[in-house]
Subunit: 338 residues, 2 copies
Amino acid sequence: MLGIADVARHAGVSTATVSRALSGGFHVSPATRLRVEASAAQLGYVVSSNASSLASGRMKNIGVVVPFLNRWFFASVVEGAQQSLQRHGYDLTLYNLTGGASARRSVFEHFLLRQRVDAVIAVSLELTESEVARLHALNKPLVGVGGPLTGVPTLTVDDLAVARLATEHLISLGHTRIAHIGGDKALDLDFNLPTNRRFGYEAALKAAAIEARQDYFRPADFTMAGAYQAAKQLLGRPHGRPTAIFAASDEMAIGSILAARDLGFVVPRDVSVIGVDDHEQAAFFGLSTVAQFPQQQGEKAVEVLMDELRPRPAPRIGLNINMPFELIVRASTARPPE
Amino acid sequence: MLGIADVARHAGVSTATVSRALSGGFHVSPATRLRVEASAAQLGYVVSSNASSLASGRMKNIGVVVPFLNRWFFASVVEGAQQSLQRHGYDLTLYNLTGGASARRSVFEHFLLRQRVDAVIAVSLELTESEVARLHALNKPLVGVGGPLTGVPTLTVDDLAVARLATEHLISLGHTRIAHIGGDKALDLDFNLPTNRRFGYEAALKAAAIEARQDYFRPADFTMAGAYQAAKQLLGRPHGRPTAIFAASDEMAIGSILAARDLGFVVPRDVSVIGVDDHEQAAFFGLSTVAQFPQQQGEKAVEVLMDELRPRPAPRIGLNINMPFELIVRASTARPPE
DNA sequence: CTGAAAGCGCTAACAA
DNA sequence: TTGTTAGCGCTTTCAG
C-alpha cells in the first residue's frame, strides 16, 4: 500500500513533515508544502483515515441519526448536512431508526460508541437522558435538529410563531371560520411540534377575538391520505362549514386540497388552504405555506458542530437556535366567499 | 479510555483472547468466550473501530453513493441498505453527488480512497471507467443498483419487461390509443432507463399490432409538474385523443391524473393512467402501477457485498441480477370508453 | 485453547 | 522549520 513514507521519500522530507504539510500546512514552509502536495498528488496518495484517526483522535466523520429517511424533511436535512460536511472534508455516517426499538438500542449502545464519529446530529429525535449521557460521557458533541432536546443545542423553527403566521394570514384575508388539521398525540416522534402548532393557531385566533371551536380541529397522521379524510369531515358538514383550513404540514394541506376538490369545492374560492413546509410539491399545487428550510437546518447543524470541534470552541450563545421561516402566498388562499 | 486491556484484566485473560472472543469466537473455548463477553458487557466496552480497522484491514463500513437523496427511489434504496447493514454490524457512509462535478470528483478521488469503506454501492449512477478502475485498484468490491454498470455486478429491474407489462395491461383492457410519458434524453442520470421503458412500451404495442404513434410520446423530467404539462398536451388535442397513458414513473402518472381531472376528464372512465414504482403516494391516488421494490434492492445489494467480502466468496452467477416487479391494479385503469 | 509481541499507518511531542 | 520516535488500541502470527 502506498503510505506516507513513500510520499516522504519522493519529496525528500520526513513523514512528520508530510503529515504536517497535508493537514493544514502549519509549521511548514510554503515551498516544502507545495513540494509535498505535488508528490502526494503525483503518487495518488490519500491518507488512511484509520491510521490518522487512531493517532490523532479525530475521525473526520459525523453521525447523523434520523427516524426515517423517506420523508421530505429528513432527507432534506441529511442532504444539507452532507453537502456541508463534504466541504469540510468530513464523512457522514447515517443511522436510521426505522428498525424499531432494537435498532435504536444497537445504534446508541454499539454503533455510536465505537469511536467512529466525532459528533452526532440527531434529527427530530427525542433522546432519552441515558442516550444523551452516553454521548456526553464519550465527549461527543451532539446537536439536535427539530428539537428541543434538553441540555443540547438544538436548531428549531418556532412552531408557535409559524402556526400563528399561517393563521394570521387567513385572518387577514377575512376568514373567521378557520379549521386546523394537526397531528395526533400518538406522534411523539415529532416532539410537541403538533401541539405547538395548534397552540399557535389558537393564539392567533384569540388575538383576533375569534373563538377556537373544538369541532374545527381534526387530528391526522401527517400524511396526505390522513388529511384527506380529515378535510372531508371538516368540509362535509351541512352547517357552519369552515372557509379555511390550516394544515400542520404541506402534505396534509395537499390532501385537504384534493378532498375539497372531490367534494366539488373550488380552492381558494370556496375554501382556502395553507400548510407548513414548502414541500417540493407545494408549488405545483399552488399551495400557500409557511416555508421552513430543512436543508439549511442541516447545514447549520454542521456549522455548529464544526465550531464545537474546534480546539477552542467559541462560547455558545444559547442552547436553542431559531431557524428562519417565511410566509409564501400562492394560489390556495384568498378572501372567503361573501 | 476503556480499552481491550481492561477487559482482559477483568476477565483474567490476555488481550489476544479478548479480541478473539469478541470477534466471532473462533479458537476460544465457549467458557472463556462467555466470561469475556460478560466482562465486556459489564464494563460497557466497545471496540475502537479505528484500532480494529488499522490492525485488521476491515472497516465494517460500506460507502453508498447516490445522485440525490430527496427522491423516493434513492431514499428507499438507502433505507433498505442501511437496515441490512446494521444487522451485519456495518456502518453506512453516505455520499451524495448533488454538489455537482466537483463534489463528484472529491468523492471519487478523495473520500472513497481513504480506506474508510470496505465496499461501495452505487445507486443509479453511471460511473466512468476511471472511477470504477480506481475502486477496483483498491480492491474494493462495487455493486450497482439500477445499473447497468459495465463489468460490475448490478441489481436492476428489467425496464423493458416492466414497460411491456404496464402497456400490456392497458392493451388487455381494450385500449389501442395509448400514450407514453417518458424521460427526456437529458436525464442521463438514469442510464437508459427512460429509453428502455419506451422500448418496452413500443414492443408491447407492436406485439399487439398497434401502431406506435410519434405524437403519442411526450418527454418529461420525471416530476409531477413536468408530466402534468405533458399530459395536458396529450389530452387536450381535439382529435385522436389517447384513451390511456403509460407514465414512466408514478410521480409522472399522478401528474397525469391531475392534468386529466383539470381538463374535466374522469379517470379511469375517460382516460386510464398507469405508472411505474408503487410510490408511497400511489395507493392514495388509486394509481395502477408496476411496483418495484427499492428497499429490497438496497438489502440485496448489501447481501451481494457481504458475500463478496467473505474470505472465500461464492462464485458470482452473473453480472446482472434481475430484481422482481409486479403489476398492481388499482382504480386508475379500466376499459376504454365505447 | 491461550499468551506474547510485532506491527497496522499515521500524528504529535520533543529535539535539533 | 524539520526530523526522530514513541505511541494510538487492536489483531494476528507464532509459540507454547
